[in-house]
Structure formats: structure tokens, C-alpha cells
């Protein structure tokens, strides 16, 4: 609150000029944070919430007396809270329009009362109490907060606080102080994040310049500066070195520079420019004009620098090119490509010149740069507006974000000077020259000569690019000479294994030229062409290019062949080879979602299905690879099933080829989400080969695929039975330790499915599986946690297992996963808790022993995720069976929170919500409370749901609620009787009884009423 708020507010008020918070998005998000903090404060920190402020927070409110409910003492003059401080002053007092608040609990209440005006209230409060922390905690504590290093020694602070004030109150005060400080930090980091995207910080430029200035600090006569250093060695992730609270003011870093002729300079670098500051720890004080860069500042303050810097400009010019590539490392792929291209173009120019000169020398190269003043070259002139490298907006591609195997740009290793260039470089340069000037015969001979180099070696690959060979090779593809095209592609398909070459090809539009040859009548050419595409299309932009230029259709056409004839003619064999290369290309392309769809639309699924009949592994691997890649899309999964490919996939599981087996298992993994597919896998006897793949534990990728397939297949109980014949569970349980996470996720998933069968629960116990599972509960992988909690929950349905889980403290671990930020983990953990609570021996005691557990679970009723809500309701229903715990739940406001949810239309949530309501009725005046809160009417409506499970729990809840006469009246008014009478005819005894019981209660009330009337 202190730092961030006052600073952030200053920062914006300066812009607006008035003493109000400007309606900027950043302020709004700050307000929201603060509001959220205040709202939750009294429930999360009840003790601190009661602490009385040193001074009341006072502001003019829009609230009026009538807004306050009956818990306040309302008189004509004012509104007072019944709670008073030890001097007898009310903690909340309203003299319209001024309101005084003296504690956080009152603040929370007030904010709740304000309802839709709560933002305005918070804003007004902050505007009129410019230093809320001082008012809350008193000036002494707040001054500590103001110390900029305060957060580094929080512990010593606690001690200080203790000395100042005695007793419990001071303890609470310090805690509150720490809480406020946390909020402060949170707000600051939020501000910074927002600013990062908006304001033009450019730490990179500063860094580059400092690096260069450091070169001036050499010893000897030529030295221009004595020393250049930063005041801090720590670099934040955004590249700044200034502490966060100063970054808010757009400051990047501070420098101490010792020039040769003047005194030491203390310099502040900010996005707005560079200026001299007041010295260490007084960085904010500006003591000079603002300069556009450090160089300009130095030139104006140090004549020695100004004189000598110019002379050395040339040397500074020769920054190694790597510096530039480093600069772009973290940038998005597209951006990278472009930057790299410009980089390349520069290089090309160099080579162009080198060629003309035959003997390139450095002096010549240097001339080229002469006109640019050095500082401009480094991009320092623009004071702001440049976004820092790290925050370039995320890509705007239409492609899926789940791109697998996206390759990362590696910084290039490049020889530093000409002398380091290998002899291959010069030979290749000569040959590329022949390519440019030769006729067809010479071209073919030259291409063959280039092929004799080791084209898989990076030196040769980059040499070809660097001497301009790529352009020539690509140009050859646009000619009519088949031999030349073939030769060119034979080189391209090899060098395109290199990331930089791929990008260069795409950058120069080479992919389009390559794709033109896919229609060629010459089969060798088509095959080479497709193979080259397979290599080039390893990154997103290339894949998109293939699609946009109609490459997918052409590639799918290549697949047209009959692969499984007994005797192939030479021509047919060539067709098969073309199809194989085409599939390789499609495999690369299929890593983009849009391409998957394009392949499907072009009829690729049928073609792939036909190729799947091939007997050759080198054909099957790309085919199955493509299929499993595409099986992430539902349309493919359906097609794979309906085109009868499951049979072939299963068949190939048994081939002795790890890669093929892996792809087959992966395909089954993805497809077996579908019930029919699971049936087919069993039908074609695919379960046994899957289990036998588990023996190949050394190949983790294969193991992950196989366990994944087993997991998904085991969703069908019949499959689990079958798996048991092959002792699958025992093998899986052995894989619960010492495996990579991607294997563990699947193994645990499978164990969770196996545990649905009672016999298996004992097996899991006997093999020590419970302990392994509980151990995994402490992990961080969310997918794994979802599966582990599910498996633990399934195991907990066995009493003996539950004893072990309890002994290993598993319930506490599961419970603490409710705090996980991932909704899937939360709900999965809550479902597991249901099982644990139901099957634990002394569940009530167990639950109570978890400090803060009940509060945590009640608070999750504020979640926005229906699955989480449903699971939490189910857990609450289980917990509420214990009266003492129900009492605690009630204290935490479970009735109100449940009631708030009753308007849902989600049947799954409705079912468990009704169950929870039914069970929560059993305490105190909860029945009446539900009625008062308005839970009854929506519940009556649930009876019209189409889900039978909802009817049952609803009828039971209504039966409970109907024991309160007022609720009966509400129910009757809402027409509950008719649907209940219908349900009284149900086959389900519990539903029937609950419905009947409810109707009976309504009847009894009516009778009583009549009697009362009669005897009145």
C-alpha cells in the first residue's frame, strides 16, 4: 500500500494534474487488487482484521444510512457500528457524507455493503487518505516500511516491532504490517508487468553501450575513461538493474564512471534519457540535463572523452556479430527470422565485396560503415518507444499454441575472422561461382562436386549459405533442367537439416520454388522435393508457407500409390518412394493444427490409411508418425477408427522397431479416449503387445507412449480385466518410481483406472503402490497431480488402503493440493478427499486435525470453475456428516456460500450442491438460514432437471429443508408438490422416501394450520 500505491498514484496524478486517481487501466487494476485484498481480509486474517487503526480512515462516501443493515445502530444523525474500541469510539461511524473506519473488519463489511459501488468507495478512500499505512499502523512502523531495504530484513523488523510495543497487540500489528507489505510488493510487481508492455524501456541498448564504454577503459595512452561500473550486479528479468520501486519511475540502472579529466560521475539511465544524479543512494535526484545516451553525457562533461572517443569510433564499430544475435535470442520466431535476415544481408554485402576484391581485407569492410555515427548504430538515439527484446507482443499466427517440437533458434557459431575459415569455405565459394556462370553440363558437374563435401557438417552448410549458394540452388529449381533441379535438391535436402539454412530458405521464398516441383512428372524429382520440404518445414513459419501456397494438397497427391503389392515394377517402386517422401513432408507439416485440417480436407486420411498397409518400416514410421500427430484432433480420431486403422496400428505394435512401436502406441494413446476404439484395441489383441512394451524401460519415449496407451485403454473395465491376465498392474506399479514425469503421468493415470476394480486395490497395496502414490503427491507437475489424486482417491475406497494413506499423512497432502492454482488439481484433490473422508475410520477427527482445512475448503466455494465447485460441494457433503465439523463449516459461512451457488444450471454441480445443502441442514438453525438466504426456491426448480441424480439429492435436501415451516411455505408456493408426487413413484427407494417425507412435512404443516384456524 505504502510505496507502490503512493508512487503509482503520483505517477498517474502527474499525468492528470488533479489530485485524483486517473481512470487508467493500471489504476483500475491496482484498485481491484486493493479491493480484493480488503474484501478477503476479514475472512483470511480474522485476528489482524480486528486490530484498531492508529487513526481512522476518513472519506466522503456515497453510502447513506439506509444502506446499512440492522447490525448497525442507526439514528437520525449517524450510523455507528456496535463494536467499539477501548476508548469507546465506534469502529465505524457515518456522518453523511463522511465515514470513519477504524479496522479492517469494518472496512470489509463496508465494502460488502457498498456492493456495486465498492470500487468507487475504495477509490475515494485511497484518494482522501494518501498515506493509509501511516494511519493504520502509526508513523513509527510506516517509516520502517519507507526504508527501501526494508523487505530484505523482515525478521529483524519483527524484533523491532516487539520492542516498541508490548503484548499481543503489537504482534498482530507486525503481522498486519507484513501483510500490507506483501500487498505492496504484489502491487508493485503488477505495475511493473503492466508497464513493461507499455513503456519503452530499453535496457539492452544501455547494456550495449556500457559494454562498449568498458572497452575505452583499457590501460595505456589510448585510454579514454578510467572505469565504468554498475552500482548493482543484480539484473532483473526485464534487463533492468534498478530496484523495482525505481523501475516504476522508468529508471533502468545506475552507473559510476570515472573519466580521466573530471571527478567521478554518478549517472542514472532511464527510458527518458541519461542524467547525473546526487550520488549513491540519491539516484533519483537529477543534477544535470537529460542526455539521449551515456556517450552524449560524457562528451559534454569530459572534454578528454569527447576528443578521444571519436578517434576510437572505428574500433568500437567492430562489435562481433554475435552480440546482435544474442540480443534477439528471446524474441518470437517471426521476429527472429527478420532480424536474422537483416543480419545476413549485411553479411552478404560483405561477401559481395569480398568477391569483387578477391582478397577481402578489413579496412575495406570498415569503410562501409563510415557514415553512421557510432551511437546511432546501436539504436540508442531513440530515447524511448522501442520495446525491450523480452516483451515483443506474442505472435499473431493462427497456428496452435500446442506446437510440438518447435525448434529454438540457436545462436550461431561463427568463425571470428577470415583466417579461421576452413578450406572447404573457399572451395565451396569457387564452386558456387561455377554454378552461376556455367552451362547445364557444368552446373551438373559442379553440383556433383558440392555433393562430395560433407553436407551434414555445419561448416559446409553455412559456407554454402554465406557465399550466396542458397540463392543459386533455389534459382535452379525454377529452371527447366531436370538434372539441375535434382542436383540442387540433393544438396538442399541435406543442408536443410541445419536450422539456419531452413530459415534462410524460407526467408528468401525458396519454399515456394521447391513446392512448384511437386507436380513434376519426374518421380525422382518429386521424391527429393518432398524430402526437402520434410526438412524445411520443421518450424512454424515454414509450415504455414507450405499450407498457404497449396503445398498440402500437392503433398497429399503424392501419397497415391498401392504400397502392398507383392511384386512391384520399377515404376511402382518409385511411386512408393514418392509416397514415402510425401508422407515425411506431411509429418513435418502436421505439427501445425491448421495443417492437420488441411491434410484431412485434401483426403489425406484415406491415403495414409492405405499406406498403413505397407510392409516396410521406413514407410510405416512416417505414416504412423503423421497419424499420431494428427490424432490430437477429434476428426482424425474418428477417421482412424472408422477407416479401420486401429487394426493396422495394433499389428505394427508387435514389430521389432522402437520408433514405429512408439508412434503406434502414441496413436492408440490419443485415440483410445473413445470407447469404441478401446473395444477395437482389445478385439484386435492389442493389449498384450502394449504390456510387453513395458519391458523396454530404457527407451523413455517408448515407455511414455506405451503407458499412455495402457492408461487410456484401461478406462474400459473389460480391458482392465484383460490387462490383468498379463500382470500389467504389477509391472506398472514397478514404474511408479524413478521415471520421468511424462511416464509417471501415464502410469499413475493407468493405476487410477485399474484401482476401480476391488481386487486391484489389494494388489496396489501389496506391491507398495500406496506409498509410491502418496510420495508423488508432493510433486509440482499439474497433470501428474491430477492423476495422482485420482489414483489415491480410487485406492482410498478400500479400508485397508485408507489406513495406510492416513498413516502416510496422505490426506493432509491431498488436502493441501486444494491450494494448487490449477483448477483441475483442485477438483481432483477434492474428489479424492470425498473418498478419503468416507472411508477413514475416524473421519471427523482426521478432518479436524487439519488446521485451517475447513476454512480452505469453504473458501473454494468462491471458485468460478464448476468442476471445482461440484467437487468441493461433494466434499462438504461428506464432511458435514460429522456434527462438530459441520458446526465449523457453518461458522465459516458455508450456508451463504452454498446458497449463492444455487442459481447454477450445471446439473453436475446441482447434484452435489443439493447433496451438500441436504447435509448442511443438520446443524443449528441452518435449515432456517438456507430459507432466509433464498436457497429453497432454486432447489425446487432442480426437480425439473433432466438428470435423475439431481432429482435424488434435491429431494433429500428438500426433505431436510421441509422440516422448517417457512421453507415448506416457500416450497409449496413454488409448486414443489407435483414433481415430488411424481418422484414418489420412482424405483429409487431413497428418492421415493425423500420425496414422500417432504410431502408429508408439507401436509403436516397444512394440517397444523387448519387446526390452528379451527381452534382459534
Amino acid at each position: 500500500m505504502g510505496l507502490s500505491l503512493t508512487r503509482a498514484a503520483q505517477w498517474t496524478t502527474a499525468a492528470s494534474g488533479v489530485d485524483k486517481l486517473a481512470p487508467t487501466p493500471m489504476n483500475e487494476s491496482l484498485l481491484k487488487e486493493v479491493l480484493c485484498f480488503v474484501e478477503q481480509f476479514s475472512s483470511q486474517h480474522p485476528q489482524e482484521a480486528e486490530l484498531v487503526f492508529e487513526e481512522p480512515l476518513q472519506w466522503s462516501t456515497t453510502l447513506v444510512a439506509s444502506d446499512f443493515k440492522t447490525d448497525y445502530d442507526i439514528s437520525d444523525l449517524d450510523v455507528q457500528s456496535p463494536e467499539k474500541d477501548n476508548e469507546g469510539r465506534p469502529l465505524l461511524q457515518l456522518f453523511p457524507p463522511t465515514v470513519c473506519v477504524r479496522s479492517f473488519s469494518q472496512l470489509s463489511k463496508l465494502v460488502k455493503l457498498a456492493d456495486n459501488k465498492k470500487m468507487e468507495e475504495v477509490q475515494a478512500c485511497l484518494e482522501e487518505n494518501r498515506d493509509p499505512v501511516v494511519k493504520i499502523l502509526g508513523p513509527s512502523l510506516d517509516s520502517i516500511l519507507e526504508k527501501e531495504d526494508a523487505h530484505t530484513d523482515g525478521l529483524s523488523l519483527v524484533d523491532e516491532g516487539k520492542e516498541e510495543d508490548q503484548g499481543k497487540e503489537s504482534d498482530v500489528k507486525v503481522k498486519l504490517f507484513l501483510l500490507l507489505q506483501d500487498l505492496d510488493k504484489q502491487l508493485l510487481s503488477k505495475c511493473l508487468k503492466a508497464m513493461d508492455g507499455r513503456v519503452g524501456l530499453d535496457p539492452d541498448a544501455v547494456r550495449n553501450e556500457v559494454e562498449m564504454l568498458k572497452r575505452y577503459c583499457s590501460e595505456g595512452e589510448k585510454r579514454v575513461l578510467k572505469s565504468v561500473r554498475y552500482t548493482s550486479d543484480y539484473v532483473f528479468s526485464n534487463g533492468c538493474r534498478a530496484p523495482p520501486w525505481r523501475q516504476v519511475l522508468n529508471e533502468i540502472c545506475y552507473l559510476v564512471i570515472e573519466p580521466c579529466d573530471t571527478e567521478t560521475l554518478y549517472i542514472t539511465c532511464s527510458t527518458a534519457g541519461v542524467f547525473l544524479n546526487g550520488g549513491i543512494n540519491r539516484e533519483g535526484e537529477q543534477t544535470s540535463d537529460v542526455f539521449e545516451d551515456i556517450g552524449a553525457l560524457l562528451k559534454s562533461t569530459s572534454p578528454h572523452f569527447a576528443q578521444n572517443a571519436n578517434e576510437q569510433d572505428f574500433e568500437a564499430q567492430e562489435l562481433p556479430p554475435t552480440q546482435k544475435t544474442q540480443h534477439v535470442e528471446s524474441v518470437d520466431a517471426e521476429e527472429q527470422g527478420q532480424l536474422q535476415r537483416s543480419d545476413e544481408q549485411q553479411e552478404k554485402n560483405v561477401h559481395e565485396k569480398a568477391k569483387q576484391q578477391h582478397a577481402p581485407n578489413k579496412a575495406h569492410d570498415r569503410k562501409k560503415y563510415e557514415p553512421c555515427p557510432r551511437w546511432k548504430n546501436l539504436g540508442l538515439v531513440s530515447p524511448c518507444g522501442k520495446t525491450p527484446a523480452g516483451s515483443v507482443p506474442v505472435d499473431t499466427f493462427s497456428e496452435s499454441s500446442s506446437e510440438s517440437e518447435e525448434e529454438e533458434e540457436q545462436s550461431e557459431r561463427r568463425p571470428e575472422s577470415d583466417t579461421d575459415l576452413p578450406s572447404e569455405y573457399w572451395q565451396i565459394q569457387k564452386l558456387v561461382k561455377y554454378l552461376k556462370v556455367g552451362d547445364q553440363t557444368a552446373t551438373v558437374l559442379t553440383l556433383c562436386a558440392i555433393m562430395d563435401f560433407n553436407l551434414m557438417q555445419e561448416t559446409c552448410q553455412l559456407a554454402i549459405r554465406d557465399v550466396g549458394g542458397l540463392e543459386v540452388l533455389i534459382n535452379l529449381l525454377d529452371t527447366d533442367e531436370v538434372q539441375c533441379k535434382i542436383g540442387s535438391l540433393k544438396i538442399l535436402r541435406k543442408i536443410s537439416h541445419n536450422v539456419h539454412i531452413r530459415r534462410a530458405i524460407v526467408d528468401m521464398g525458396g519454399l515456394q520454388s521447391i513446392m512448384k516441383n511437386l507436380d513434376s512428372p519426374v518421380k525422382d524429382l518429386k521424391a527429393l522435393d518432398a524430402e526437402t520440404i520434410a526438412n524445411v518445414a520443421r518450424f512454424r513459419r515454414a509450415r504455414r508457407t507450405v499450407r498457404q501456397y497449396g503445398g498440402i494438397k500437392k503433398l497429399v497427391k503424392l501419397l497415391d500409390c498401392v504400397p502392398n503389392l507383392a511384386n512391384l515394377t520399377a515404376e511402382q517402386e518409385k511411386d512408393v518412394e514418392v509416397a514415402r517422401c510425401g508422407t515425411l513432408a506431411l509429418w513435418s507439416c502436421s505439427k501445425s493444427t491448421n495443417n492437420k485440417e488441411a491434410i484431412r480436407k485434401a483426403g489425406g486420411v484415406f491415403m495414409l490409411g492405405r499406406l498403413l498397409k505397407s510392409p516396410h518400416e521406413n514407410m510405416l514410421i512416417p505414416v504412423v508418425g503423421t497419424l499420431q500427430e494428427c490424432a490430437s484432433e477429434e476428426k482424425y480420431r474418428i477417421a482412424i477408427q472408422t477407416e479401420g486403422m486401429i487394426k493396422d496400428l495394433v499389428k505394427n505394435l508387435s514389430r521389432d522397431n522402437d520408433e514405429l512401436q512408439m508412434h503406434c502406441a502414441n496413436a492408440i494413446f490419443k485415440c483410445a479416449q473413445d470407447k469404441q476404439t478401446r473395444y477395437l484395441v482389445r478385439q484386435y489383441k492389442g493389449l498384450q503387445p502394449l504390456v510387453s512394451l513395458l519391458s523396454k524401460a530404457h527407451n523413455k519415449q517408448l515407455l511414455a507412449a506405451a503407458t499412455g496407451a495402457i492408461w487410456k485403454c484401461s478406462i474400459s473395465v473389460e480391458n482392465v480385466t484383460k490387462f490383468q491376465e498379463y500382470k500389467a498392474l504389477e509391472t506398472l506399479l514397478r514404474l511408479l518410481t524413478d521415471q520421468p514425469e511424462e511416464v509417471l503421468v501415464n502410469v499413475v493415470g493407468a493405476v487410477g483406472e485399474f484401482a476401480q476394480i476391488p481386487d486391484n486395490k489389494a494388489t496396489i497395496r501389496n506391491c507398495g503402490g500406496i506409498r509410491s502414490l502418496v510420495n508423488l503427491l508432493t510433486g509440482t507437475n499439474q497433470a501428474l497431480l491430477v492423476n495422482v489424486t485420482k489414483a489415491v482417491g480410487a485406492c482410498a475406497t478400500d479400508m485397508d488402503n485408507m489406513i495406510i494413506i492416513d498413516k502416510l499423512d496422505g490426506v493432509r497432502l491431498v488436502w493441501s493440493l486444494l491450494k494448487n492454482p490449477c483448477a483441475d488439481v483442485q477438483s481432483s484433490a477434492a474428489w479424492a478427499l470425498c473418498q478419503c473422508i468416507e472411508n477413514a475410520k475416524d473421519a471427523g477427527e482426521m478432518v479436524r486435525s487439519l488446521v485451517g482445512g475447513l476454512e480452505l475448503i469453504v473458501n473454494l466455494l468462491k471458485s468460478t470453475n464448476n468442476e471445482v465447485l461440484a467437487s468441493i460441494c461433494a466434499a462438504i457433503a461428506k464432511i458435514a456428516r460429522n456434527e462438530e465439523n459441520l458446526a465449523v463449516l457453518t461458522d465459516h459461512g458455508v450456508v451463504q456460500l452454498l446458497t449463492k451457488l444455487t442459481n447454477t444450471t450445471d446439473d453436475r454441480l446441482r447434484r452435489h450442491l443439493a447433496e451438500a445443502v441436504g447435509h448442511c441442514c443438520m446443524w443449528g438453525s441452518n435449515r432456517a438460514s438456507f430459507g432466509d438466504a433464498g436457497a429453497v426456491a432454486p432447489l425446487v426448480h432442480y426437480l425439473k432437471s433432466k438428470d435423475k441424480a439431481v432429482h435424488k439429492t434435491t429431494a433429500m435436501a428438500l426433505y431436510q429443508l421441509s422440516r422448517d415451516p417457512n421453507n415448506c411455505i416457500t416450497m409449496h408456493d413454488r409448486g414443489v408438490v407435483k414433481p415430488l408426487i411424481y418422484h414418489m413413484g420412482s424405483d429409487d427407494e431413497m428418492l421415493l422416501e425423500a420425496a414422500a417425507g417432504c410431502v408429508r412435512n408439507i401436509r403436516l404443516l397444512a394440517q397444523e394450520n387448519r387446526k390452528a384456524k379451527l381452534f382459534h
Binding site: T441, L445, C448, M451, D452
Partner: protein, 214 residues
Amino acid sequence: MSNMSAMKKRLIKTLAESISGQVELFNTAEVECLIRDYNERLGEPTSPGKGAPGLDRVKFRSILQNTFGISDDIMMDRVFRKFDKDNDSSVSTKEWIEGLSIFLRGSLDDKIKFCFRVYDLNDDTLVSMEEMYHMLKNCLPGLPTKEERDEGVKDLVEITFKKMDRDHDGRLSFSDFEQSVKEENLLLEAFGTCLPNFKRVEAFEQRVFRELQK
């Protein structure tokens, strides 16, 4: 007149039958088409009984250039010599069809043999470096000066010779050539274009055999 043409037809038929007996790659009907095409190319109708003079060097070269896209002087001359098996300076019907069988339907082995014989300028069953240099001397037309061109060609010849001389005996024998080409098919026409390309073959077959395709 109709009598004449009927007689001619019969003659062509007998000739076709006899030739197709010797050339495996074409059937009789195809040979018939080829003969008719040959006669058309020859221009003047050949009267029966008289010995046909056949295609002379000039006519042959123009066919090579226009129909088969072979335009290098040395190559055209060498191909003519290889078609003209009896060395009578004219390509007879039979020689023409035999040659075409390699052009149009030849297997890789046939083509390797044919190309090697074309490149073996002095028919001594070896391709020497000098022969190579002679065939390739104009292959780098883009270089500005004659010195550079000569230098480049020499370099290219050396690279290629080193590459193809499998047994390192300093001579390029047929088996050297054959091995090299089998390993890298692109080397088939290493020293000059002496075979029609795919497109030309296709166009030629389509035109000459169009009646058969109906």
C-alpha cells in the same frame, strides 16, 4: 496412286517386322510409326527397290537440335557417329530406330554405354583428360575473360576426373564411368548433353505414336 500407297504400306510393314525382330524395345506397330516418321523426315518419298540414302549429317543435326534439344556441336557430331554404325555418313532406317530405342526406351545400362561411346572421342575405350577438356571447354560461358574460363574448365575437369577415376590409374575407363554413374545418376551426361530430356521424349512419343494411343 492408291495402289502405290498400298504397296508402300506393305513394304513398311515387312520392314517393320524385320526391324522389330532386332530391336526389343519397340513392338511392330511402334516401329511402323517410327518408319513413317523417318520417311517424313527424309522428305522425298523413297521409291521401292532403290537403296535409301538415309538421313545425312545436316538433316540429323537439325533433328537433334529441334526435336531432341541436343545443340552442342561436338555432341551432335558424336551422336551422329554413334547412330551411324556402318560409318557411311548417313543414318538408315534401321540405324535410326536402333538409336531411338536408346533415346526413348533405353535402360540406364544402355544409356551408360551410349554416353561413354559418345564421350570417347577417339574411340580408344578411354576418356582422357584432354577429351574431357575438349568437350567441356565452353561450359563456363559466364566468366568474363578467356583466361578465367580456361582456368575454370581446367579446375572442373580436374575435380571431375579425380572423382570418376575410381581405380586411380589416371584414365577414365568404361568401368570407372559405369561405377560413377551408378552411384550418382546425374553423372550420366557428365561431359555434355547427348540424350533427350524427359519432356522431349514424351513429346516425341506422343507425336509419333499418337495413332496407337487412340
